[in-house]
């Protein structure tokens, strides 16, 4: 009988822990009163634009970015240009860091961030696109499907 109690006891503790954990699957944090600085575009206009120009990048989507997060403040969406490298790299570190992170592609000398032809001179926007499917710049001249998956 006692043995049974003990086993049950252990199971109980574990399941309480699991249950508790399950209930609080995500860490709960308190709301803050921090607000983002106002932009030329109203919040409603921003969410409207977000619908017109949806992000195709899962990671960026998860972060819930607004247009202005990457593009900076603007008045007319028509005047918005593709991002320059330095704009991407404010969050993504520097070119070398990106090349190191993707160095698993080095194996075949085909890491586009440190490639044979272009080294660190390709624009991010040559492949990575936010609002259209990304492309593989190398595919302009090469059969890349053998060495690379789709561009994130």
């Amino acid at each position: 009988m006692k043995k049974l109690f003990i086993v049950l006891g252990i199971i109980m503790i574990a399941s309480i822990a699991f249950l508790y954990q399950g209930m609080n699957a995500k860490e709960q944090s308190k709301k803050t009163d921090v607000v983002l600085p106002a932009t030329t575009l109203s919040a409603s206009k921003l969410s409207e634009l977000k619908n017109d120009y949806p992000s195709k990048n899962d990671q960026h989507k998860k972060l819930g970015f607004d247009c202005v997060t990457c593009h900076g403040d603007f008045k007319d969406p028509k005047e918005v240009l593709p991002l320059e490298n330095k704009q991407c790299l404010t969050c993504h570190g520097d070119y070398k860091k990106v090349a190191e992170r993707t160095s698993f592609l080095d194996k075949n000398e085909v890491n586009p961030h440190d490639g044979f032809h272009h080294k660190d001179e390709l624009d991010c926007a040559s492949c990575h696109r936010e609002h259209k499917p990304s492309v593989n710049y190398c595919a302009n001249c090469h059969d890349t499907k053998v060495w690379m998956k789709a561009t994130p």
């Binding site: 240009l81 302009n140 001249c141 090469h142 060495w147």
Partner: protein
């Protein structure tokens, strides 16, 4: 029909070549704005950042001029950056060390041998004469030559090689950044729309900055792409057009010779004719536009080890023929089958026979350019499955080919079977790829004098303030550019244009206030 007769029929009158294209870009009178206000003013503007443009710009900057290089693409370096850049050079240290006797005349003669008498012999000689100076120009600015080669068509060994275009262009650009930063500016994504003339002299450019080449619709980029903001940039001394060839411009290639639309190209995606058409609209004479140069992902001499069949599983050409005959036959066959390229198959013995194992390996690793990938299969059935053939049809083609090999005579196409060194289609594994000739160079372009000045077709005289260099020019090579002769061309006219534009008397230009 061989290539030569083809060209002759394609462009019966060589002088009509320019006209045939100017019909696409109607002749317009030069803009005679007498007092354009410029956003920026430089001494010299160079259009294009490949080898010719870079050379010209560095030379001009070293003469003390304020130089701007503009390139429409998202990356500087043009096609040169992604080319092999073998440099055929007379009087290199490598030649001296080996005691090789060579003269510019001999090199020019070699170049003329394959020109089929097209083009201007004087330009070839100018190119050959400048090679020694260009060799030292490169070496003194950080380019290191790793190999010395004897290449096909050259009567002596004279090609030096730095390891590829990146190993030439990158050191030059780095040199410019480090030593000429105060005088030389390089600007990418800047497209030239027009030339500003003042009293008949070219004094500036209308450009668009922040131009994004349309990779999604490259064929219509010149016509439809409206990106960028317009700016007027003045050039007090002159403008050098080193804007490259038009290998990727299937519209122009197709207009010159219908069948060329079937070619592949892995030149710079921006290698199109927009700038040349603009120059022609101002009257610049263009020559030899019908000429082209075909190549394959694998060396032509290694095609012979295999069998080429069309999508119906039939052979159609002697695989041991010459580059252009095979190329033109493939293009015609491709056209017959709605653009579907023929299949090239080797067995293991054939693969072992390759002269150039490195290029074979590149093909196996899928690094040999667009549609340059070779695949390996254990059985012919797998080959058939992968390339969409009926296995029985493929087997029949293979059997017939092997039988012909055994008989020793190729009744159909006259392939010389005595040279096959055991290559047949018997020994697994098999290697196969679709084979399309690539257009790798366009010998045609704007006509220049040996002083690199552009010629006005209307007056027959040179334009004041307009120079051209590199693949943008025509008439240097004639029908077939000799291997390793594009670098000396870019170098020679890069240096000459750089010198001559520097020697121009500056004009006074107005800045926007």
């Amino acid at each position: 029909m061989d290539r030569r007769t083809f060209i002759k029929t394609g462009a019966i009158t060589a002088t009509a070549a320019a006209l045939s294209v100017s019909s696409i870009a109607p002749f317009v009178d030069a803009e005679e704005n007498t007092d354009t206000e410029f956003d920026e003013v430089f001494d010299i503007i160079v259009v294009g950042s490949g080898l010719a443009g870079t050379t010209s710009a560095i030379t001009a900057a070293e003469h003390g001029n304020k130089v701007l290089v503009v390139d429409k693409m998202n990356i500087l370096g043009g096609t040169s950056l992604i080319s092999g850049l073998n440099f055929s050079c007379v009087g290199s240290d490598e030649q001296k060390a080996r005691g090789i006797k060579d003269t510019p005349e001999l090199m020019a003669e070699d170049m003329r041998k394959v020109s089929e008498d097209y083009g201007d012999p004087e330009l070839s000689l100018t190119v050959a004469r400048m090679t020694t100076r260009f060799y030292h120009f490169l070496k003194d600015r950080g380019v290191v030559f790793k190999e010395f080669k004897q290449l096909g068509g050259h009567s002596v060994a004279r090609a030096v090689w730095a390891g590829g275009g990146a190993f030439v262009i990158r050191p030059l650009h780095a040199y410019a950044r480090e030593n000429l930063a105060d005088r030389l500016t390089m600007r990418k994504r800047c497209k030239v729309d027009d030339i500003v003339f003042e009293n008949g002299r070219a004094v500036g450019l209308k450009v668009r900055e922040n131009y994004y080449f349309d990779f999604d619709d490259p064929q219509n980029d010149d016509k439809k792409n409206k990106t960028g903001t317009v700016k007027y940039i003045g050039a007090k001394k002159g403008i050098v057009f080193a804007s490259g060839g038009y290998c990727r411009d299937k519209k122009l290639l197709g207009a010159e010779a219908d069948i060329l639309e079937e070619t592949n190209s892995d030149a710079n995606p921006g290698a199109r004719s927009g700038t040349m058409q603009m120059l022609m609209s101002h009257g610049a004479q263009a020559v030899n536009l019908s000429l082209f140069r075909l190549a394959y992902p694998i060396p032509t001499e290694d095609l012979m080890w295999g069998m080429l069949i069309n999508p119906d599983g039939k052979r159609f050409v002697n695989e041991f023929g010459n580059r252009n005959t095979i190329g033109m036959t493939i293009l015609k066959e491709k056209k017959k089958f709605d653009g579907k390229a023929p299949l090239l198959i080797y067995d293991q013995t054939g693969a072992d026979n390759f002269h150039d194992k490195q290029r074979f390996q590149l093909s196996m690793e899928a690094k040999n350019g667009y549609e340059g990938t070779m695949y390996k299969f254990q059985t012919l059935k797998e080959v058939a499955k992968y390339f969409g053939y009926d296995p029985r049809v493929l087997q029949k083609a293979v059997d017939e080919y092997n039988a012909a090999l055994d008989s020793g005579v190729d009744q159909e196409f006259g392939k010389d079977f005595s040279q096959m060194n055991g290559a047949a289609l018997r020994k697994a594994p098999f290697y196969a790829m679709r084979l399309t000739p690539k257009c790798t160079y366009t010998p045609g372009g704007v006509r220049i004098t040996k002083e690199a000045q552009m010629i006005n077709s209307a007056t027959g005289e040179t334009f004041e303030g307009l120079f051209a260099a590199g693949e943008a020019t025509g008439g240097v090579h004639g029908a077939m550019r000799l291997t390793a002769c594009s670098v000396p061309d870019c170098g020679a006219f890069g240096l000459i244009s750089g010198d001559n534009v520097s020697a121009m008397k500056p004009v006074k230009l107005k800045m926007k206030s």
